[in-house]
Amino acid sequence: MEERFPMLQIVNGNGEVVDEAYRSELTEELTKELYTKMLRIRLFDRKGVNLQRQGRIGTYVPFEGQEASQVGSAMAMGEGDWMFPTYRDHGATLTFGHSLKTMFLYWKGRHEGCLPPEGKKIFPPAVPIASQLLHATGAAWAEKMKGTDRASIVYFGDGATSEGDFHEGLNFASVFNVPVIFFNQNNGFAISVPMHKQMKAKTIAQKALGYDIEGIRIDGNDAFAVYFHTKKAVERARNGGGPTLIEAVTWRYGAHTTSDDPSKYRDQSETEIRRKTTDPVLRLERFMKNENMWDEKWAKQLEEELTAEIEEAVNEMENEPDANINDMFDYVFESNPWPIEEQKEAFMAGRGE
């Protein structure tokens, strides 16, 4: 199956082009956009981990190492498309237009963190594993019924492929020929469980065969491969070609969450090697150097600007007024049924309000 689903790559770890067909499309403009967006979310991610350590936000879920997968795929989507992330995909949602402040608020345990920016079809992160594949399928199905050319992208991990909802999502999308991109980030682990304990299959892409849909396997640390191959799948979806399962092979450098200790179940030296060999941000830097696009001053200034933007968002998050207790009661239904209204009144009276 690994031969049948080879790992597609456009630029390798040394920053060399390995798929010549794309050479003319690897423009400086595209490269710098990818680099900028990846660096931006990497800096966000590191900030998230730090804020958690300082107790300024709650448990945080880091994605460092998966930037190419998240940025490349999100950039392949267009205006009006839908995005269904998990708890680890704020790199993708930020790239797709989510605000930095909102994302920080999410990790601070605020419901405001679930709100997409005006006009953006970004669903709140799915915490119950694999449940979101069905929502993405339904939303894309609705677009199809309405006769638009809009599509959905849904993110999920290697572990998620074990849940029934994964299989139901693929099957519905297949049966109804729905324009949805099933974007799997295979980072090798579901918390402590490595892929070989999760499934006997050597690839996730091959699971497409059972549903007779398109399936591809790509180097998830190659931003170009992710971007161009996802784009192709999106175009196919827009043109009535139905769903695609994309397996982006990647790696999370850090812990599963800030509450997890990876040394219990894996050797972290693997991460140290990968930082030097397959790192997605470093790969773009190497590519730019090889292609004479790299400009040290530009890179330095970019990092300063992005850092300032993130600091500003942290400030905004911390200056946000406290969570409003009414929000717990007033959004369960459009209007409060009597039990909630009575409970709310009793609660407010008890606090002296």
Partner: protein
Amino acid sequence: MTTAIGTKKMTLVQAVTDGLRTMMKEHDDVIVLGEDVGKNGGVFRATDGLYDEFGEARVIDTPLAESGIIGTSIGLAINGFRPVAEIQFFGFIYPAFNQIMTHATRIRSRTLGAFTVPMVIRAPYGAGVRAPEIHSDSVEALFTQMPGIKVVVPSNPYDAKGLLIASIEDPDPVLFLEPMRHYRSSKMDVPEGKYTVEIGKGARRKEGEDVTVIAYGAMMDVAVKAAEKAEKQGISVDLIDLRTLYPLDKDLIAESVQKTGRVVIVHEAPSTGGLGDTIISLINDTSFLYMRAPIERVTGFDTPVPMFSLENDYLPNEKRVFDAIQKVIRF
């Protein structure tokens, strides 16, 4: 039966591990399975060390699939094993609901006892640890209403171990809920070796005359603090820790309520359809003529558990329980 010798100071989560170890040592048919329970020792370390001690054939990292975990546990249980399945957080049990509701709980009655399911489902539950969304649910009432499964909730390390062993020995499915908030909050002397706490029996934590306070699991702490405050004001509290939610300890509840005539029930689960409603029915059936005040409930609300910035407002606290005690006293 007790073969316990010495004691050891343990947290609640350590007592769970110790209960598992005790039963696994004694019985080859007891196996542990779930997500991350093996090499990682569980996300809360509840199975820490068991993988090394008993091997991967008995401490099994499963694929990430709750319906799969429970469904295959049913198959294991009808065919000679006693699986102890871990659901990583109670809020992730929902994919398994179908397996529990339509199979685990009915096989004995469908087959008039030809097939039985001696299985334990362990799950940490409850809010108050600033966890991400869905990690804080307290939906025990969905299961106490489900015919065919017992539901137990220890509030301290001693009960955790004793009840877990009783649950594994029980011939029928038992849902074993662990108050996440108290996994490590305190230590207590726990007997080494095997002992049981009987399923279906509550415990009186304080002897009092004026008001009965009924709580369980993570809410025991809140109830204790409110009771201590009440006692400082001269109100004596009969404090009951239910420990088992199905079947309830009818005798203990009736005896206490008939003595005090006043009752406050505390749980963090939503109000409507919660254990409070069931307990009120029980009191109605057993002790109606003894009541001196309407029963008060201090519970979570009929809302999803909010994200953690609001969870302290959602959770019953000492003040709300104390206010309720005063209300029934002053009635």
